[in-house]
């Protein structure tokens, strides 16, 4: 399939579109944590990198099929999210954000110092297993799953926690447990996306997973509109493709990108599709 696609479209575009799909999966995970549940996470890149490294190491050392290394990558990220979530999710707002930022940097430093991850030189020779078809299949599954979550009793409890945690607690919602679950699911998505990333680029370097990558994911979600699935997809698409289009003005690319972020926040502080949800728009025909 990829070969056919590559012969029709420029392989470079196929690569960019595949990356876009991977980012959408990770951003949807963050949307569940930050957009739906309202928990600020600055460490999403850490879970992305955990998924990437674990699945790459499995592929390099064990002869397991790709699907297993993908799932194990996601599960490891989710497990670590649970372990991290118990102590840190008691923190609120900015303090949680800062703790997750710290966690992300610690993970990066650990990957830089471990032998099995190739240290600072990185991990090379990962087999290329990711194709645009697999990625977009997983995108569709993720969108469907996220939609089901947001539409369920569980999802409504998460929104209640976002809106007012104390009120939610008093209505009988065990907020810590719900937050940990949301954190685990969101991190699982990041882990799977990371595993796909590793098997697409075939090379991993710890410096790719710094906090600026976490901020990038956060920007995708906030720009699109917190808590909105189509918003997250739109935000990711715009911000992933914008630098590609801005290549015409290559030298000024990042300058414009930074200015765009400020301008968009000034003119559209709730994100492009803030308050728009799949269900409200497409399934009941009513707009909020």
């Amino acid at each position: 399939m990829d070969n056919i696609l590559n012969s029709i479209i420029n392989p470079y575009y196929v690569q960019v579109l595949t990356l876009l799909g991977i980012y959408i999966i990770a951003a949807l995970g963050l949307n569940l944590i930050t957009g739906v549940t309202g928990q600020l996470s600055f460490g999403h890149a850490a879970f992305f990198s955990i998924g990437a490294y674990i699945s790459a190491i499995i592929s390099l050392n064990l002869a397991l099929p790709f699907i297993f290394s993908l799932i194990i990558g996601g599960m490891t990220a989710a497990l670590i999210a649970i372990l991290l979530g118990f102590p840190t999710l008691r923190l609120t707002g900015d303090y949680l954000g800062i703790a997750t930022l710290g966690f992300g940097e610690i993970v990066r430093v650990i990957f830089t110092n471990m032998k099995i991850t190739g240290g600072a030189t990185g991990l090379a020779g990962i087999p290329r297993e990711t194709s645009i078809l697999i990625v977009y299949f997983i995108v569709i599954v993720t969108v469907w799953g996220m939609h089901r979550i947001q539409d369920s009793r569980f999802g409504r409890a998460l929104v209640a926690i976002r809106e007012d945690e104390i009120a939610a607690e008093s209505m009988g919602i065990n907020s810590l447990w719900y937050k940990i679950q949301a954190f685990a699911v969101g991190s699982f998505c990041a882990g799977v996306a990371g595993a796909l990333y590793a098997h697409l680029l075939q090379y991993l370097n710890p410096s790719d997973f710094g906090f600026s990558r976490s901020f990038e994911f956060l920007t995708f979600v906030v720009l699109g509109g917190l808590g909105s699935i189509p918003g997250t997809i739109l935000g990711t698409t715009i911000l992933t493709l914008a630098p590609e289009f801005l290549r015409i003005v290559a030298d000024y690319r990042m300058l414009i990108y930074g200015a765009l972020m400020v301008l968009m926040m000034i003119f559209r502080p709730n994100g492009l599709l803030g308050g728009v949800s799949l269900r409200k728009t497409f399934f009941s025909g009513k707009k909020k």
Binding site: L40, D94, G97, I98, L101, F103, E105, V109, V222, I266
Partner: protein, 290 residues
């Protein structure tokens, strides 16, 4: 050996403290994590280098002019990127701050190129030994200048009218404005003050490491921010304490030959402190509103 590391740690720590003050003052008043602060520090260092190499200015004049430039820069950034967002969500302001930081980084990369620039030798850097301890001229200068600046800041906040207004605004923003305090002016002043300290920090660090680079603000800014949290964000003595604490911790990690882990030390300390005392060492407890 121990005392030697203490001196090195104090030097590093006092530069962190200078930058941390900007984070803490801004956060104290408008609850915004100003992620562009590390970039102001970087711009300050570059302005210092430019003034010394191009205009042949004296280091002290260059430092003062660099502080003045960054003061203006801080005020302009606040007006353009944060003021219009004061009423929208805090996440929007945060994204805007990240946008500003990307903008400044790439602007400086465009002007200067990505490579580091050497900081000119402005002092004859000799090593003085006091008993078993060795201390360089530049270390003495850093310690003296940063202490003076912090003392100046404390006096400004304690004894001037605008300092009193700053304290009132950080106590309760809304009530302060009802009491006739021009909160916008206070916020501009806070940004100006914080940015000028960051610029001084930039010049001092440039002098110490003898080089400045467009991305130098990223890690230092983040660590200074961690220092502010460690001390209790919003608290000025807390930022100083946090900075020194972090500087010492990092120096001792390097001395213990764990230098590849030095970047993780700050964040590990941060997580440990947050878990046991979520508001930092000198922070006040936040009241949950029901």
């Amino acid at each position: 050996m121990l005392w030697q590391q203490m001196i090195n740690g104090l030097t590093l720590g006092s530069t962190y403290a200078l930058i941390a003050l900007g984070y803490t003052m801004v956060y104290g008043i408008i609850q915004l994590i100003n992620f562009a602060h590390g970039e102001i520090y970087m711009v300050g260092a570059f302005v210092g280098v430019a003034l010394i190499t191009i205009f042949n200015l004296n280091i002290w004049v260059a430092m003062l002019l660099s502080m003045a430039t960054c003061m203006m820069l801080g005020i302009i950034i606040e007006q353009i990127a944060y003021r219009p967002l004061r009423k929208s969500s805090r996440l929007a302001a945060l994204i805007s701050a990240i946008g500003v930081s990307i903008f400044l980084q790439s602007l400086m990369t465009l002007i200067n190129g990505p490579q580091p620039v050497a900081f000119p030798d402005v002092f004859k850097n000799s090593i003085h030994s006091i008993g078993p301890i060795e201390i360089s001229t530049i270390q003495i200068i850093i310690l003296i200048v940063s202490s003076l600046l912090m003392l100046g800041l404390q006096l400004t906040i304690k004894y001037t009218k605008i300092g009193k207004a700053m304290r009132a605004a950080s106590e309760d923003y809304g009530t302060a404005s009802l009491m006739g305090i021009n909160v916008n002016r206070v916020i501009s002043f806070t940004f100006a003050l914080g940015s000028s300290l960051a610029a001084a920090g930039g010049v001092l660090v440039g002098m110490y490491w003898k080089s400045v680079a467009p991305l130098m603000g990223v890690m230092v800014g983040l660590k200074a921010f961690v220092a502010a949290i460690l001390g209790g964000i919003g608290s000025i003595p807390g930022a100083m304490l946090g900075g020194i604490f972090l500087g010492l911790a990092e120096t001792f990690t390097i001395a213990a030959k764990l230098d590849t882990y030095k970047d993780a030390v700050a964040f590990t300390l941060l997580i440990i402190v947050l878990l046991f005392k979520p508001t930092g060492l000198l922070g006040r407890a936040i009241q949950k509103k029901v």
